[in-house]
């Protein structure tokens, strides 16, 4: 596609439920990143994929967070047993060499 596509754009879930967030990067972009943006905070790095492998998972805040990427393309970020502090905008970005292209994000609200 022409840009990075994320779905859903908005998600409201009950505390304790699992959620899956999807990212469809720009075709041909080998690198894919997930970030989290909380109100009043900067963007927080979560995880980086090069192809299907994740050489850097250092930003995942807890073991409730996991991510995978298949076919060097679509990535899914899964949050298990959601907590209220997980409420944020989750942004995905893809890159080929330099300069990330971000999607519009998924706004997650845990109630």
């Amino acid at each position: 596609g022409a840009g990075v596509s994320q779905s859903p754009s908005n998600k409201v879930t009950e505390k304790g439920k699992d959620v899956e967030l999807r990212c469809d990067p720009i075709s041909g972009h080998t690198a894919l990143y997930w970030y989290r943006q909380s109100l009043g905070q900067g963007l927080e790095f979560l995880i980086y994929f090069q192809g299907n492998s994740a050489p850097d998972k250092s930003g995942l805040p807890s073991d409730r967070f996991s991510a995978e990427r298949t076919g060097g393309s679509v990535s899914t970020l899964t949050i298990q047993r959601t907590q209220q502090e997980d409420s944020a905008v989750y942004l995905c970005a893809s890159s080929f060499r330099v300069g990330y292209t971000f999607g519009s994000g998924t706004r997650l609200t845990v109630v």
């Binding site: 970030y35 963007l43 979560l46 250092s58 300069g99 990330y100």
Partner: protein, 115 residues
């Protein structure tokens, strides 16, 4: 640990009133410094990448500069459509021990241009 501090947090200008946004950074080895623009409800939009001290890049009314400790985003004769949050980020050099391959972002400067 890589750190990025942006100032001011918010800036209100009149249309045509030029100003500068500051991004101070510490990184063990700089691979690149990035400027992004973010509009409400949207993801950040890439503006510039700077790689070494002394480098400058321009795009329309924006000009980004870089020293070894900070970067400036100069806005000349801004228009209301330049209103947005401007984000600065750094990426550590390979092998610098900086840790994550991702970008470290500042909290941004919220810029409002009044007509």
């Amino acid at each position: 640990e890589d750190q990025v501090t942006q100032s001011p947090e918010a800036l209100r200008l009149q249309e045509g009133e030029s100003s500068s946004l500051n991004c101070s950074y510490t990184v063990s080895g700089l691979r690149g410094l990035f400027w992004y623009r973010q509009d409400p409800g949207k993801g950040p939009e890439f503006l510039f990448t700077l790689y070494s001290a002394g480098e400058e890049k321009e795009k329309e009314r924006l000009k980004a500069t870089l020293t070894k400790k900070e970067s400036f985003l100069h806005i000349t004769a801004p228009k209301p459509e330049d209103s947005a949050t401007y984000l600065c980020a750094v990426q550590a050099d390979w092998g610098s021990g900086g840790g994550a391959d991702g970008l470290t972002f500042g909290k941004g400067t919220h810029l409002i241009i009044q007509p």
